[in-house]
């Protein structure tokens, strides 16, 4: 079935098609349409689920974790301030090994108030033990929700996942979305049946105290093992989804026109569509440029970057966030992944589109022109297009 859906509506349909059994969410711009659409689908009798209209995002995540421990498939959605409020519970979800799936609308963090696209909110959650996907299209949102449940509920992974969509550029942009038949999705996903759960017939405790000499480090290490398994699971599930439904997204790192590229742009989210258009222009002018879209940031596509780096002269990394006092996380992590290679490409970093500032084809072209200038050695990350006070 094909429908015209915004990124927000795609998220709501994704939750319905995945048959999320418990949903617990709190509204925030620009995510509100997700909770409203879910409420509509339930009110119209199309979606049978328990929707807890909680009083905060912190409670939203707490309720999802507990519901998941009972054995329910759970879903939530948030953005920016809401995601930051959840931070404590994000750690709780991964520590509890609950495969909660969440859509996050990437929105700037206040102050000053801003509701526009910026990835600081989700990048700031990178150490919470969550798998992180970044989507480029509304279609990818639906498809990735399906894939995420398969990956997260894999007993060797058992971790939560967040899917990010850029505020407005994706959340409020409508496109034709193909929804696969429910029976086929049911067959693809199966039901969630955890081995251990909160169960009166088999009383167990979840999350009891553990001393330094007992099992705490081992529990943490097992989360890392889950992440390592996730690398394989994400690739496999994406391929399987492709063979069943005709769409796959390159696993962790989505490569575009990289075969003969000298320069590869690294980015995530909605700007990648603009980058594709810029690449077409640049290619027609003879510039051999491609793109590596970070589709999954956690687990980090370390191996995929190393493989890519073999044949590339330079990587141009674009961050729509910035770690104050350091540099953009993508820039840092790409460099870290490549460090063990003896023959490394030149890596340059640009902070761009912060707080939703528009990224045009022209923006991308000017970044590439800047990067093609002769090697100036190790370069600090540049903030693109900053205004000056006199303006």
């Amino acid at each position: 079935m094909k429908l015209v859906l915004s990124g927000n509506e795609a998220a709501a349909y994704g939750a319905m098609l995945a048959r999320a059994e418990v949903i617990s969410a709190y509204p925030i711009t620009p995510q509100t349409k997700i909770v409203e659409k879910i409420a509509d689908l339930i009110a119209d009798g199309r979606f049978k689920t328990e929707f807890i209209k909680v009083e905060s995002e912190h409670s939203a995540m707490a309720a999802c974790i507990s519901a998941s421990l009972v054995g329910a498939r759970t879903f939530t959605a948030t953005s920016s301030q809401g995601l930051l409020l959840m931070h404590e519970m994000l750690h709780w979800a991964s520590g509890s090994r609950t495969p909660v799936v969440m859509v996050n609308i990437n929105r700037a963090v206040a102050p000053p108030w801003s509701v526009w696209a910026d990835q600081t909110d989700s990048i700031a959650q990178r150490d919470t033990g969550w798998i992180q996907y970044y989507c480029e299209s509304c279609q990818e949102v639906v498809d990735t929700i399906m894939q995420a449940y398969r990956v997260c509920e894999d007993p060797r992974v058992l971790l939560p996942a967040m899917l990010s969509e850029d505020a407005f550029f994706l959340s409020h942009t409508s496109e034709i979305v193909d929804l696969p038949p429910q029976e086929e999705l049911d067959a693809f996903l199966g039901t969630y049946e955890p081995d251990v759960r909160l169960d009166i017939d088999n009383p167990r405790s979840f999350g009891s105290l553990s001393m330094p000499h007992q099992w705490y480090p081992e529990f943490r290490y097992k989360i890392q093992e889950g992440m390592e398994h996730a690398v394989e699971a994400i690739e496999r599930v994406d391929r399987e989804y492709g063979s069943l439904f005709g769409r796959s997204y390159g696993g962790l790192l989505d490569l575009y026109r990289c075969e003969d590229a000298d320069t590869v742009i690294v980015a995530a989210g909605s700007m990648c569509s603009t980058i594709r258009a810029a690449i077409e222009e640049l290619r027609s002018e003879g510039v051999k440029v491609g793109m590596a879209r970070i589709r999954v940031f956690r687990p980090f596509p370390t191996e995929a970057f190393r493989a890519l780096a073999k044949d590339v002269r330079s990587l141009v990394v674009l961050d729509r966030s910035f770690s104050m006092g350091s540099e953009g996380a993508f820039f840092s992590e790409v460099k870290a992944a490549l460090y063990p290679l003896s023959d490394r490409p030149d890596v340059r970093g640009f902070a761009v589109g912060i707080g939703g500032r528009d990224i045009t084809i022209e923006t991308i072209r000017s970044i590439i022109t800047d990067s093609l200038r002769p090697d100036t050695g190790i370069t600090a990350q540049k903030w693109v297009g900053l205004r000056r006070c006199e303006e």
Binding site: I52, A63, V70, I200
Partner: protein, 302 residues
């Protein structure tokens, strides 16, 4: 002889509470009332430690340890998931939190859960301070008490504000059932727990749970002290069913003990002067009179 307390034990021996811990008794009695088909959620508090260190536990019911402020939300999630799975029928979901986790940091999640009307039971064991972190004041700490953050000092810097009335806050939510209970009156506590189990919808129980470590009294005095709290009308036992008040432990005027008997037993009140003691006495009398009036005006029909 007819037994007044059920034999069933769902809290085993081998817990880690201090000697004389009121909260340990409270859990044991509560579970006797709720029975084995119970799922519990416990946030950060003494009771996050009492059951034991992984992989040991004194608890015979399934238990999720939850974040400090999330008890209300966590039990909402458990209840919703049980319903989604068709397993809610016959299962009791209970949140068990300290006064800090209930009256302070967890009050938002509790309020949300009760307002939404989940079929959950929320039990607050009240030891009148943050004990797990070493006796800091909470909004349940009564006027006049010493804690490490109301340290008296040389300026009478004891707790200056009154104790928050959580049962009235619950009543203001139109909750189907709210009650107080005490470890000194186990039959009353268990009867109320059984009542909660049989009600569909949110219920709240506020248990008075003396803490020898934090209140500075000998551990063998826990039950005596709890009994005095009720007999002085400092902690009256009552229940509110659909807005109707009923006092379950009636204290006759001539039997009512003086607050001084209660205060004198505890080191945390040792610095109080006459004026402070009198103001506690006045406050207790006022609150007790108010409760009697509530029962009179909004009691169950005789």
């Amino acid at each position: 002889m007819k037994k007044t307390i059920p034999d069933i034990e769902l809290m085993e021996r081998g817990h880690q509470a201090c000697l004389g811990c009121g909260a340990a008794h409270a859990m044991r009695y509560l579970l006797k009332g709720l029975g084995p088909k119970t799922i519990a959620a416990i946030p950060a508090c003494c009771w996050a430690v009492i059951p034991g260190v992984y992989p040991y536990s004194c608890m015979d019911v399934p238990l999720q340890y939850v974040a400090f402020e999330t008890t209300g939300a966590s039990i909402s999630g458990i209840e919703a998931a049980l319903r989604a799975k068709g397993k809610k029928e016959g299962t009791t979901v209970v949140g068990w939190a300290g006064d800090g986790g209930t009256l302070d940091i967890g009050i938002q999640a509790l309020s949300g859960a009760v307002e939404r009307g989940h079929d959950v039971k929320y039990v607050c064991y009240d030891n009148e301070a943050y004990m797990n972190t070493g006796i800091q004041r909470s909004s349940a700490t009564p006027f006049g008490a010493w804690t490490t953050t109301t340290p008296v000092g040389t300026t009478k810097a004891w707790k200056l504000s009154p104790k928050k009335n959580i049962v009235e806050i619950m009543v203001a939510h139109d909750i189907p059932y709210a009650c107080t209970a005490s470890v000194a009156y186990p039959e009353d506590l268990i009867k109320k727990a059984q009542k909660m189990k049989d009600i569909t919808g949110p219920c709240f129980m506020h248990i008075y749970a003396p803490c020898p470590t934090g209140w500075k009294y000998p551990p063998e005095k826990t039950i005596e002290l709890a009994r005095l709290a009720t007999d002085t009308c400092i902690f009256p036992l009552y229940e509110v069913t659909n807005g109707k008040y009923r006092i379950t432990k009636r204290i006759k005027d001539e039997k009512k003990k003086d607050v001084l008997d209660y205060l004198r037993m505890q080191g945390r009140f040792k610095s109080l002067d006459e004026g402070a003691i009198q103001s506690i006495r006045d406050h207790v009398d006022f609150e007790w009179a108010r409760l009697l009036r509530k029962e009179e005006c909004f009691g169950e029909e005789q």
